[in-house]
């Protein structure tokens, strides 16, 4: 394992730490973006430049930016995130317990033989063939999911048109 890989891992973890712990939501999103960039680089070192590129395009360029927009679109919310120590402690306890247990399980299992790199396997053309071969159905379903997501996001995010007459005002709040 090269030093570059190690450094990238550290950057990803530090970015993640920033993303889940800083008090400014915008900083947290930048932390996420940093972690994602480091991950994209890691993906490339793992022989998957295609996936790395997708990560940058969709995650960093799409999702993170959408989050920034969402923050900007919610003007009543301060950028300040303040959690009580008890809450953080409880969350940290659960997360570290899970980490400890899973790490034990990972380390205690039979050592997986380290196979050398199989050069042909990482040709993007192979990925393309696989997508339109074995995973054709999943690929098609993914397109339906994306359509659904666009539709859903549009439906939910659009402001309600002024209520027609048949919407009784009593039904406005179901529970007092």
């Amino acid at each position: 394992m090269s030093a570059v890989t190690l450094i990238l891992m550290v950057i990803a973890l530090l970015g993640a730490l920033v993303a889940v712990s800083v008090r400014d939501i915008v900083h947290a999103i930048f932390g996420l973006a940093g972690a994602l960039l480091a991950l994209a680089a890691l993906f490339t070192t793992l022989g998957s430049p295609l996936v790395g590129a997708m990560e940058v395009l969709i995650y960093v360029g799409g999702i993170s930016v959408a989050m920034i927009f969402a923050v900007m679109l919610s003007p009543h919310v301060g950028r300040d995130l303040r959690e009580t120590p008890a809450r953080r402690l409880g969350a940290a306890l659960i997360a570290s317990l899970l980490f400890a247990g899973a790490a034990l399980a990972v380390l205690s299992g039979p050592a997986v033989p380290d196979t050398p790199e199989a050069a042909g396997a990482f040709d993007p053309a192979l990925v393309g063939h696989a997508l339109l071969g074995d995973w054709l159905l999943a690929f098609e379903v993914l397109s339906v999911v994306l359509l659904l997501a666009i539709m859903g996001a549009v439906i939910i995010a659009t402001r309600e048109p002024p209520a027609p007459a048949d919407a009784a005002p009593a039904a406005e709040e179901a529970r007092p």
């Binding site: 022989g47 969709i58 989050m67 696989a130």
Partner: protein, 106 residues
């Protein structure tokens, strides 16, 4: 420690940090950040297994990459819906604090 184990542990750490974010954060967007970290941990794990571990590289390494591509695609869809719902919550509540989601109780 083999590189594979290192990658596995790194992914696991990312996953647990994401989980921490989901559990500790009050802001809905910040919780969503935690979820994205968890998903990326899965991506890293899948690619690491595809690169180092799998017995049948010609087929299985590709399946790791395929899975990650699907994860990225689905995450984008999920984020779109999630952000739309968060904005809808904000319209009613003027808040995106999870503790304020108290209309449904009991």
């Amino acid at each position: 420690m083999t590189p594979l184990t290192a990658f596995n542990l790194c992914a696991l750490a990312l996953f647990c940090m994401g989980l921490y974010g989901v559990l500790a954060r009050k802001n809905l967007i910040a919780m969503l950040i935690g979820v994205e970290l968890m998903l990326n941990a899965a991506s890293l794990n899948a690619l690491a297994w595809g690169r180092y571990g799998l017995v049948d590289p010609a087929h299985a390494a590709v399946s790791g990459q395929i899975l990650v591509l699907f994860i990225i695609g689905l995450a984008a869809a999920e984020a779109a819906i999630a952000l739309a719902i968060i904005l809808a919550v904000h319209r009613h509540r003027h808040s995106v604090d999870v503790d304020d989601l108290d209309t449904l109780e009991g």
